[in-house]
Subunit: 199 residues, 2 copies
């Protein structure tokens, strides 16, 4: 069989591709900086240096440091959302709803480990803390899993109560101030989730 | 039997008494203002007017608006602490530990209804949010009740997870933005507490 002829990408397409790659490269550099030295260390200069590009490129792409931080959060949230909406089980569709819920909690907690300072910066903004679209997607996901699992009770409020212990500010306090390993926090959250859904 | 002779209170004692009454009067006025119009409405002028005293009295007593807000929080927290440490059951000693836990959750939630904006202002301070003495006392109380109830598991983290949904910022979001009645939130928290402790 002859391969079907695929039209060559237009130059404009290839430029768009370069732009996306460039963006991902810069966001990866920023994420590494956060993981290594905290959100405060993420400056436009530091990201440019880390990614090996000029500072102008970072400014052209994100406009400001605040724009970069929001893009970084969107990037991480999108990855998590993709994983729980379309990815492989147990996080993605196909597994038992409680197992998916547990996998979701663990995934959020490992996100806090990497993106904690960025998440906390957003939580500390009164507008974004509860009203942000990322939290809404997570809330809907948890609520859906609770419904699918046949859990009874006031499910919207139960979903709030399950998300509350996953907040970055609390988790960072537990890890940094109280010295609790993230694995212990994840085990305790799994235990919580299984207890409240076992009824 | 002759009544034992009780020494008359010295003038200095009576002054101290006046000062305490004055302080309570001003804090009550401030608490009413918060309940009626939110924490932003609590100015030194408004508190003085409400309590029917001169503005100088409010300044002499609390030093600044920030001093007043902290005193207001201490006042409310002390009342709650007294009630759960020394008060009547089910909140105070003597009742079943799970019933005490439920009463504690309900008492905290009604405190949020009245003092929500003040509590939220403290939660929004990174230093006070988790490190404050008030939260430490509540955490210890919940942990003690969990132990007494014979609940198994990672009790310190379970105590964190039970306190997290009671945070003023979240509760105010549920009440004001989502229109949930505080009674519904209290019922859902009781349900949560009973589920996690029933194991």
């Amino acid at each position: 069989m002859q391969p079907t002829s695929v039209p060559m990408a237009e130059p404009v397409e290839s430029e768009r591709c370069d732009a996306a790659r460039n963006r991902a490269l810069l966001l990866d550099a920023a994420a590494l900086l956060v993981a290594e030295r905290g959100a405060d260390a993420v400056t436009m200069d530091a990201v440019a240096a880390r990614a090996g590009v000029g500072k102008g490129t970072v400014f052209r792409r994100f406009g400001s440091r605040s724009g970069l931080m929001h893009a970084l959060l969107d990037h991480t949230e999108s990855e998590l959302q993709n994983a729980f909406l379309f990815g492989a089980p147990p996080l993605g569709p196909g597994a038992d709803p409680i197992d998916r819920l547990v996998a979701f909690g663990r995934a959020r907690l490992s996100m806090v480990e990497v993106q904690g300072d960025v998440l906390r910066a957003v939580e500390n903004s009164p507008e974004l803390r509860f009203g942000g679209p990322a939290r809404q997607v997570s809330l809907t996901h948890v609520l859906t899993l609770l419904r699918e699992s046949g859990t009874v009770g006031d499910l919207p409020l139960l979903a709030h109560s399950l998300l509350a212990p996953l907040e970055a500010s609390l988790v960072l306090h537990q890890v940094r101030d109280l010295g609790m390993p993230i694995e212990r926090i994840a085990d305790a959250w799994e235990d919580l989730a299984r207890r409240v859904t076992s009824t």
